[in-house]
């Protein structure tokens, strides 16, 4: 029998190769060349290690490196522990769909907006200090660096507020594939405490299912820029922020050590992932020895409840942060230590109207274009697999995750050099392309499971009724999958809206989005205008998620199986 869908598959392969893989390869190559002293545009043609020596000698380099390692590794490990403990404590009381609904706001809000909100909450003049003020007798903001602190504590809290919900969702969806209740019952019947059963029985099954998302979280936490600018230490900042600054230094020769720093950032992530793999091996070996000893343990439940309490505190901080964005954007007079503004006004909105309208329209254009392209490619990819009746090869799965594991700062400068050479730099198309590198993987990952969950026999039934591949796609698969498709699109919107570095690097500073403006404004003094931008930035993904919920319910209002109303 002839191979069906060959042309489609070849097309997808070409687009993925040229559109996603080539830019990353070119970006890494060009950054790597500059890191070893080769930058022909500036007359540097001799390969050397000089940029690395320069990098090591830059003021604050060692501190930046330490900050990156501590905040990145620390926030990831803490998030993982907290999320695991929380799941162990509440899993029996929370289904995947209920959890997903509860976590959606935390996942939808861009890192930068959450950071702005947390800065409002944690700052010496923020909500927490205002709540404590009457007890502590403060009539002016206390003199403590609770944001941008030298230890990176605020940054770690910010990362954890975003990453714990993500890991919770990932763990919950992994747990839905494991017969948790029966394994728990079996373990407890053998005399093991609940907490010990989780550690000895459940987690070893969960880990392989969440390993890749944990890598993504780790890579992100080690190389985040926007959140680190808003919440992290400013002088010296984390490595990724420092490298971003060096790239935009007035002295163009700073590009050389900056490139070395960018490459180092990629090496750090690779090193951290390797560390995680080694750690996994060791835990495996130790764990086996520990399990074979058969200790029933005293119940580890105090640990679980402590983890749950910390998760609840983090979530409360996140909710306060989201609220504070809206409150600040509507505040007029709000002196310390008032809990709420003394007078309200729409002036922050009307006064900055031209600015946010322009940023909003750019953001919408970018989100629409990147999500449209990503969705089209994802559907073409999945449909190609269907037509060839093949499952996905492991290397193809790895390709999807590639842009999420390589730090953006590691290849965006080099990619911009590549874009310059083909005359694409500085325009909206360059930004769309660069953003799509990160939007596509999330859209693809979000859509793949639901697409595969579609009963293949239903598609065979359609074929047996004479429907060709085109009609099977348009008249059966797409309408039936409208909810997961729109959910994937909403996730794509959230990812696109949140992009900071790609917009900054590829737009050459000329394309202002809600995110770039919010990050820039966050260091200024007017919290009200910052609140306006951050509210809009958080509002767009919320609106997209809402649409993904409402549209299928309306389109399929007379179809119980699809309207989302669980019968």
């Amino acid at each position: 029998m002839r191979q069906e869908g060959g042309l489609l598959r070849a097309g997808v392969l070409v687009v993925v190769g040229l559109g996603l893989i080539a830019p990353i390869a070119v970006g890494l190559w060009q950054t790597g060349r500059a890191a070893f002293g080769v930058l022909p545009a500036l007359g540097q043609n001799m390969a050397s290690l000089a940029p690395w020596y320069e990098l090591a000698a830059l003021p604050g380099f060692a501190t930046s490196l330490r900050l990156t390692l501590v905040t990145g590794l620390g926030s990831t490990l803490l998030s993982l522990l907290l999320a695991t403990g929380f799941c162990a404590a509440v899993h029996a009381r929370m289904t995947l769909s209920a959890g997903a609904r509860m976590l959606t706001p935390f996942l939808a809000i861009p890192h930068a907006a959450m950071a702005v909100g947390l800065a409002f909450v944690l700052a010496p003049s923020g909500w927490i200090a205002r709540m404590v003020a009457p007890l502590a007798g403060w009539d002016r903001p206390p003199d403590i660096a609770s944001v941008n602190d030298g230890w990176g504590m605020a940054l770690m809290i910010g990362l954890m507020v975003k990453e714990v919900p993500f890991l919770l969702l990932v763990i919950l969806s992994a747990l839905s594939q494991i017969p948790v209740a029966r394994h728990l019952a079996a373990g407890r019947a053998l005399g093991y405490g609940t907490g010990i059963v989780w550690i000895k029985i459940i987690m070893p099954q969960v880990w392989p299912l969440i390993r890749l998302p944990v890598w993504v979280v780790l890579a992100y936490a080690l190389s985040v820029v926007d959140m680190a600018i808003i919440l992290g230490p400013s002088n010296p900042p984390t490595l990724a922020v420092a490298v971003t600054r060096w790239f935009s230094d007035p002295d163009p020769l700073m590009i050389l050590p900056a490139s070395a720093g960018a490459l180092l950032q990629a090496v750090i992530v690779a090193f951290a992932v390797a560390l995680l793999m080694v750690g996994e091996r060791m835990v495996k070996g130790l764990g086996r020895w520990w399990i074979r000893r058969g200790g029933r343990g005293s119940s580890a439940e105090p640990g679980l409840w402590a983890a749950s309490a910390v998760v609840m505190v983090l979530m409360a901080a996140g909710i306060l942060a989201m609220l504070s964005l809206v409150v600040w954007s509507l505040a007029w007079r709000w002196s310390f230590p008032q809990i709420l503004p003394e007078s309200w006004s729409l002036k922050p909105w009307t006064g900055a109207k031209d600015g946010w309208m322009r940023a909003l329209s750019n953001t919408l254009l970018l989100a629409g274009a990147t999500v449209g392209l990503s969705l089209a490619l994802a559907i073409a990819w999945l449909e190609g697999e269907d037509r060839a009746r093949r499952t996905r090869a492991p290397w193809a799965e790895a390709l999807i995750y590639l842009p999420l594991v390589i730090p953006q700062i590691g290849f965006l400068y080099g990619l911009n050099v590549g874009f310059l050479q083909i005359g694409l730099s500085g325009g909206i198309w360059a930004v769309i392309w660069a953003q799509a590198l990160f939007v596509f993987p999330y859209v693809m990952i979000a859509l793949s499971d639901s697409w595969r969950a579609l009963d293949p026999r239903m598609i065979r039934a359609a074929a047996a009724l004479g429907a060709g591949p085109g009609r099977r796609l348009w008249a059966v698969k797409l309408p039936v999958l409208i909810r997961p498709i729109l959910t994937a699109a909403a996730i794509g919107v959230a990812v696109s809206v949140a992009q900071y570095l790609p917009t900054l690097f590829m737009g050459a500073g000329r394309i202002a989005t809600l995110t770039t403006e919010a990050v820039t404004l966050s260091s200024g003094s007017d919290r009200r205008v910052t609140g306006v931008y951050a509210t809009l930035q958080a509002g767009l993904p919320f609106a997209a998620y809402l649409a993904a919920f409402v549209i299928p319910a309306i389109v399929h209002r007379n179809r119980r199986a699809l309207s989302g109303a669980t019968s």
Partner: protein
Amino acid sequence: MSLDLDALSISSANGTALFEPLTLHVPAGEVVTVMGPSGVGKSTLLDAIGGHLAHGFRLAGKVRLNGRDVTGLPAEARRIGLMFQDALLFPHLSVGDNLAFGLPPGLRGGAHRRAAVEEALSQAGLTGLYERDPATLSGGQRARAALMRTLLAEPAALLLDEPFSKLDAELREDMRRFTFDHVMSQAVPTLMVTHDPDDASAAGGPVVALKGLLAP
């Protein structure tokens, strides 16, 4: 009309054949039953005949419809109807639109197509349910609607994959009679795989045992 299998055999990705080569003649209006233990490849056999074989499986031998070799044709061009143990009505279409999905494009005019569907609905005891959401039908109604959807497509042959195994005992008896009556009256050659001997005796046609080659 007739469905013929000429020394049909299927081998999996690693090259081992699933069962001994199968040669079968299914004349119009007759139901031939293929029986075999679970895991022997009964569903895979139907996939091969219908043109739905997954990547990696190899097919040897021929599938002929009315003497014509259809082995190289894609599923949608074979006109071989397919019924499963689940009705698998399309959840986004109304009951009537599900039936209309398979109507031949040659039947023109909205009124004619509607009339054909209404006629089939009434034959299945589903009169007046054109606009209904398939999710609101009972199990028996769903099974009958699925059979009518398949028959309206005017299949040149019909494949039944354990079609009654999910129905409860009482309904199963009704559905067997309903299905086999329609198959006989429309004179469609029909191949059924099942592990239920009652299905085979109700079908009344020849019974073929599928002999597995893989160790159980």
